[in-house]
């Protein structure tokens, strides 16, 4: 079923109808809200442990990484204070990011029944998938505050800047998610590539190690990964310390470029979705 709220409409061949239709997205904002609301409701209805998963996932990963990288790999020597806390801070945001990207990437294919029966801006689907992870993030962030009490680490006053890095992470996730979701529609096996990409991406991001372990001459290249600035900035906001300003700026720039590229690709292929999905 479809409805379009606008009064006059011309339906034309693909190609004559591109560009991100901002006005239309704005008209459909309530549907975005409903998609997010549905995803969140369904997620918690279908699980036994419900909200616990939002904590279990980063905690379990933190434990594994603490043992393998911290103890055996010797990375914990880089960190002043608890390596586990250091890793958990990064992982709480990273887990949000990784889930957002993979949910978003598979979201279009998972909504094929909608796409073949209803019109609405297709962009809402991968974008909604990103917003729906926010509840999980809020829970794991709350648990982070509990951990900080446990480790007797007072939050730095810089924590007020945290939302900037959360927003930045959503920007990166939107770029990657929108691009991947459109690719997966055309190339179904691309989703295996995505799992792999997200896993590798973690190691290219300072979640398990400090920024200092990157040699100075590689910093620039390293900073092209937009998640570097987001994770480093997020950790600085939570645990304090000097801002990695250059990396943060680079992160927002590359994230914006990624989003623009993703939107361009998405809008050129979105009208074909119903024919190939």
């Amino acid at each position: 079923m479809t409805a379009s709220i606008q009064r006059r409409l011309r339906i034309e061949p693909a190609g004559a109808w591109q560009g991100a239709h901002l006005a239309e997205l704005w008209r459909y904002r309530e549907l975005l809200y409903f998609f997010v609301w549905r995803d969140i409701k369904v997620r918690y209805k279908q699980t036994v442990l419900g909200a616990m998963w939002a904590i279990i996932q980063p905690v379990a990963t933190t434990l594994i990484f603490t043992i393998f990288f911290g103890r055996l790999g010797g990375l914990s020597k880089q960190v002043n204070g608890s390596y586990s806390l250091f890793v958990y801070v990064g992982l709480s945001l990273w887990t949000f990011y990784a889930n957002a990207v993979s949910l978003s990437a598979n979201s279009l294919v998972g909504s094929s029944h909608l796409i073949s029966k209803v019109y609405f801006p297709r962009l809402l689907i991968p974008v909604a998938a990103i917003f729906s992870g926010l509840v999980d993030f809020a829970i794991s962030f709350a648990f982070l505050l509990v951990l900080m009490v446990f480790y007797r680490v007072p939050p730095s006053p810089q924590i007020v800047a945290m939302p900037i890095f959360l927003a930045g992470t959503m920007l990166v996730a939107a770029g990657a998610g929108i691009l991947f979701s459109a690719l997966v529609v055309s190339y179904r096996d691309f989703r295996y590539v995505i799992t792999f990409v997200v896993q590798l991406w973690l190691f290219g991001t300072p979640v398990l190690y400090t920024l200092d372990s990157i040699p100075a001459q590689w910093r620039l290249v390293y900073g092209l990964n937009p998640m570097v600035g987001m994770i480093a900035g997020f950790r600085t906001a939570v645990l304090g310390g000097p801002w990695p300003s250059a990396l943060i700026a680079a992160g927002f720039v590359t994230a914006s470029i990624l989003l623009v590229v993703a939107l361009r690709y998405f809008t050129t292929v979105e009208r074909r979705f119903a024919d190939v999905i």
Partner: protein, 419 residues
Amino acid sequence: MSSDAITIAGVSKRYAIGRSLRTSNFRESLVSMVGAPFRRLKRLGGAASPDTTDFWALNDVSFTVGVGDVIGIVGPNGAGKSTLLKILSRITPPTKGYIDLDGRVSSLLEVGTGFHPELTGRENVFLNGAILGMLREEIRRKFDAIVAFAELEQFIDTPVKHYSSGMYVRLAFSVAAHLEPEILIIDEVLSVGDLHFRNRCLGRMRDMRDEGRTVLFVSHDLTSVRQLCNRAILLTSGRVGLEGTPDEVTRKYEQMNRDPSVGNAGSADRVHPPPHYHLRRVELKKCGGGITRNFDAGDVMEIHLWSSGRAPENSFTAEFKLFDDHDDVISFGTANPMRTTYYTADQQHFVCRLGPLPLTEGTYSFSFTVRVWNQERWDFWDKAITFDMQRCDLFKTGHSVSGARDGQFVMPQEWLAGD
């Protein structure tokens, strides 16, 4: 200014068949990208063999629908009705031409799109309403009316996975019925429910007509086209075959159906299959005999159906509906749950042994559906094949019963002398 609600101008839609429509995998794509220049060279060299065939599902279709018109679109399978609906609904773009719509549009290709089984009735009303383009405020305002219309007050906070299929459809239809578009585009597949539901759909459409809304209605049900519409269009092979009054158009369509245009080999291949998983071929056989389209009462018929490939899910069913020559359903069968055959996704050939046939003389047709029982249909092949019942002399008395006079089937009967 014209008072047309819908202007369709030279609309064409091309699909590439031959190559799978479900676009390949990434590796194949890379390979074909690398290979493209070589293929072009080959083609220049004259060794042209296009690896795809273009199929025009719609070919230069033009017509207009005035404000307040109720227009019925009829036509055989593969005529392009669904494609036209999808273009009008903005689900797929036209390849050529354009459509102007003047007015708020709602299009219903199915009821209950986006319903989630885990969500309650209440939650689904809001979700589905939003998907239909209603604003939250509007849904809130109409909520009580929607629930009352569906007669589901006690169950509205129960997850819809616990609903019976009737309740589910009632709720879904109720949401759709509370739309207030200026132009309604609607598929008759909606009216596949029971008779009661079908009548409600038609009733609601009649209301829409009386309220002066514009309705474009795609249908196989010629009776409802005659009853509801003030104009009709016959689509054949992607073109407008005839545009006129509902009577003219439905009569022409009926004549077309009588033509033995599909050939008499006894089998039917689907010439213009819908994309993706679908039924592709059907044959009728006499049990222990060969392919035929002529049966006598008492014969056991074997329906052989073939699908296009691997099914989307396991444990699915194939279903038939049997129609008489007035297009009325006279019987129905399904592999499950009426019987207990559950097909696995790999199964591509389905056989239904039917009979002994109790049918009287006349022409009958089958439509077929494949799906997981009670879920959305993967394919619905309407009027897939027709067959003739020749002699109906079940009791071997030399008297054959004709369907035109005496109904569609003969029941077992004994006649005795009373006291």
